[in-house]
């Protein structure tokens, strides 16, 4: 198998499997060349699979492998693109020695379908070199044995850059043993500084650390009952206690929940699942309980609930709040709530409304640039774009092109209401003036001559253009009338109510 990436408009082998490597393919060689050396036809019937390299998926896979390796050691570092570094200091005893640990790692990875090469060494640099360049797939270097183990390996095993490698090759230095024999004092002057650093790291005279991968902790709590219970009070109490535990976990991780899932395992029924979504991360048990309780009350308990589980599958960072007590005291003294409290109260209001009525029913409006009055804004769920608390936060109006708010009616009809027009008489200009317009049985008089023509944007669907005018009916209401010159029809599009 070959994984191919495109590099400077050439297709280059990024990775190859062991069989392809045995046939002569190497990472970095042009894909066409690799295909040529591979025995695709003749003795092998199955051929070669060539797939595009997907760095994001490979990185995700490496991360998943790192999670798997956490059974060997708590400190697993990534070494992209294809390596993992494990700090196994003190871990080998738990696995019965380094040899058995290596064996376990190799057999476990082989069971997952990975052909791995491993090495245990006193330094990360040495282990790196041996795992990639040692002849055997599992090498173990004893304490202080780095120099001897590294000496026969090529200088590429030192993790040095290509330019440094070439400079060493000019001197005829190809093995690490020869590089180590060079006078140390002359190295910084003649080579890039990475050579000395890498030598020191491999030998252990310079520190090297790894950045351990931390798996995102799953924040979840659960509790099982001895037997199924249908007592709503017991279930409520239990859920409330679990919620407090969950919030304590969130606090410990400095996170707030964006979504909480509650699972009630019911006897003889499929589990009941409730999902609470939050517009902003939250971990206040009182607020969350207010959201959960009405949902919990409506769950059909069936023959009884056996287990309750709460989980926060989606969380976001939420720092600790230092001065909560202080703020409470301050708000007591003044009898007023401070601004952050008001903002939090508004968030909680949006959460509560959205969880009961549905997130699509709690909306904010965002102006959109369009001439058509019915397309001049867009609804957005308030959970995603919450409204602002202060006028100062509002964005400055950018488009001076938009009509003034006073020129648009407060009530807009969807779709525009048809108006009964009788006996059109030709007026001045080309627009005919109707003799009589009736809407809801009330006659519209005061039809002014000045009109605002609003045409549909040409790239949208063809809607006939309309002439808009403000007219009043006999009762004094001011209507926003629309006249379509193409069809000759009249509409009421809005009212200044």
């Amino acid at each position: 198998m070959l994984l191919v990436r495109t590099e400077k408009r050439r297709r280059v082998v990024a990775f190859c499997c062991a069989r392809a490597a045995a046939a002569g393919a190497r990472p970095g060689m042009p894909a066409a060349e690799a295909m040529a050396v591979l025995p695709t036809r003749g003795e092998r019937a199955e051929g070669v699979r060539v797939l595009p390299a997907r760095p994001d998926r490979e990185a995700a896979l490496l991360r998943a492998l790192a999670a798997w390796c956490s059974r060997l050691s708590p400190l697993v570092g990534l070494d992209p693109p294809d390596g993992l570094m494990l700090d196994i200091r003190g871990c080998a005893q738990a696995h019965g020695g380094e040899e058995r640990m290596l064996h376990r790692a190799l057999s476990g990875l082989a069971a997952l379908g990975f052909a791995a090469r491993t090495a245990v060494a006193p330094t990360f640099g040495c282990a790196w070199a041996l795992s990639r360049f040692a002849p055997q797939p599992a090498a173990i270097v004893p304490e202080n044995g780095q120099r001897a183990a590294l000496a026969p390996l090529p200088v590429a095993a030192l993790r040095i850059e290509a330019a440094t490698r070439e400079a060493l090759a000019e001197l005829g230095v190809t093995r690490i043993g020869e590089a180590l024999a060079l006078p140390r004092g002359a190295l910084p002057a003649r080579f890039a500084p990475d050579l000395l650093l890498r030598i020191d790291q491999a030998l252990g005279s310079a520190m090297e650390t790894i950045l351990p991968v931390r798996e995102a902790a799953r924040i979840a709590v659960e509790r099982g009952f001895d037997g199924p219970t249908t007592q709503a009070a017991a279930i409520e109490l239990c859920t409330r206690e679990l919620l407090e535990q969950l919030c304590a976990q969130l606090t410990a991780h400095q996170r707030g929940a964006r979504r909480i899932e509650i699972t009630l395992d019911r006897a003889d029924l499929e589990p009941a699942r409730l999902t609470i979504s939050l517009g902003r991360p939250a971990r206040d048990p009182r607020h969350l309980w207010r959201l959960i309780r009405p949902r919990l009350e409506r769950v059909h308990l069936g023959y009884g609930v056996e287990r309750i589980a709460l989980a926060a599958p989606w969380t976001a960072q939420l720092r600790h709040e230092q001065a909560e007590r202080w703020r409470e005291a301050a708000s007591d003294a003044q009898g007023r709530t401070s601004a952050p409290d008001a903002s939090r109260a508004a968030d909680e209001l949006i959460d509560t409304l959205a969880n009961r009525l549905g997130p699509q029913r709690i909306r904010t409006a965002e102006p959109v640039e369009s001439h058509l009055p019915e397309r001049a804004w867009m609804w957005r769920p308030a959970m995603e774009s919450p409204p602002r608390m202060h006028a100062a936060d509002a964005p400055a109006p950018t488009d001076s092109d938009a009509p003034a708010p006073g020129e648009r009616p407060a009530v807009l009809f969807f779709p525009p209401r048809a108006v009964h027009a009788a006996r059109l008489v030709p007026g001045n200009g080309d627009a005919p003036v109707p003799a009589r317009l009736l809407w809801n049985g009330v006659e519209i008089d005061h039809v002014p001559a000045e009109r605002e023509r609003i045409a549909c944007e040409w790239w949208r669907s063809a809607r006939p253009e309309r002439d808009y005018l403000r007219a009043a009916d006999r009762s004094g209401r001011v209507l926003w009338l629309a006249y379509e010159p193409d069809t000759g029809r009249w509409f009421v599009h809005g009212v200044w109510a």
């Binding site: 009898g335 109260a345 909306r363 308030a382 202060h390 009212v495």
Partner: protein, 288 residues
């Protein structure tokens, strides 16, 4: 009143904390409100921006109570509806036939509220959602639009928003509100004003045919279209009820406001229409 005064010594001790004092003050205000006494000057108010009306109200619309606004835009006469083939009503809302809340005036009041206080403006009920192009930008960016299916949901949403400290104005479709629900809203408004950041301006819009219904609102207003001219529509505003204010002659409680298309302002027309004739006479006589 006396029974409360009898309870006072227990609360007013040197050790009484600030929160005790606040609770006491709220209790006294609740009693005063119930007794219909002169509204206390401590009650926060939102000036309407109309000088004569503010004077009549004692500074503006009080924040610790609800205000009902009756729109007269009933979906017209039966004949009109037949002619329209039944499409005369407003489809946005639920049951209750077609009526339009006085949204231009409510928009103006909500905008005044945002100028004086921080917080959200909550529009409850699809019928009460003004069209966003008609809203000033700063008001639009602070607006939350809530749509409800049923009357119960609407009342729940009103109650919840009234108690929320992060809200500065609530404009709600309150059609079909019973006396008990109206009292619930009034209590929620008082509770929100007592514990939150001073309360929110609560404007409940109702169809004018519900004028005869009982309600616990502090003020009730009737809006009728009147005296249109080329600069914009006008409305006559009748203050049908105002608790906590000395009674004034009936014709002194009617004003005319006008919306100016060019500026978007709603301003008070200085001369009173009641004196210069029946230009803005509402088609129906007042009953409440």
């Amino acid at each position: 009143m006396l029974s409360i005064v009898g309870d006072l010594p227990a609360a007013v001790t040197p050790a009484a904390t600030a929160s005790d004092r606040l609770a006491l003050r709220a209790a006294i205000e609740a009693v005063e409100c119930r007794e219909g006494a002169e509204a206390s000057p401590r009650t926060a108010r939102i000036p309407t921006g109309w000088p004569d009306i503010d004077r009549a109200l004692g500074g503006g619309l009080a924040l610790n109570s609800v205000h009902e606004w009756f729109g007269l835009h009933e979906s017209a006469e039966a004949s009109g509806r037949v002619e329209q083939g039944g499409s005369g009503g407003v489809e946005q809302g639920g049951s209750g036939g077609g009526w339009l809340p006085p949204l231009t005036i409510l928009l103006h009041l909500a905008h005044r509220a945002t100028m004086h206080r921080a917080g959200l403006v909550v529009w409850i009920g699809a019928r009460c959602h003004p069209s966003p192009p008609a809203m000033p930008r700063d008001l639009l960016s602070r607006s939350l639009f809530v749509s409800c299916d049923t009357r119960d949901q609407r009342i729940w949403a009103i109650d919840l928003s009234l108690r929320c400290a992060g809200v500065c104005a609530i404009i709600a479709d309150a059609s079909g509100l019973t006396m008990a629900e109206s009292r619930r809203c009034q209590l929620a408004a008082a509770a929100g004003a007592a514990e939150g950041n001073g309360g929110a301006l609560a404007l409940l819009a109702r169809p004018s045919r519900e004028r005869a219904h009982l309600s616990a609102a502090r003020t009730r207003w009737l809006v009728c279209p009147a005296s249109f001219n080329e600069h914009g529509p006008g409305w006559s505003i009748d203050l049908l009820r105002c608790k906590g204010v000395r009674p004034t002659p009936e014709d002194a409680r009617r004003w005319v406001v006008r919306h100016e298309h060019a500026t978007g302002d709603v301003y008070l027309v200085p001369e009173s229409p009641a004196r210069d004739g029946a230009a803005g006479q509402p088609p129906q006589r007042r009953t409440a």
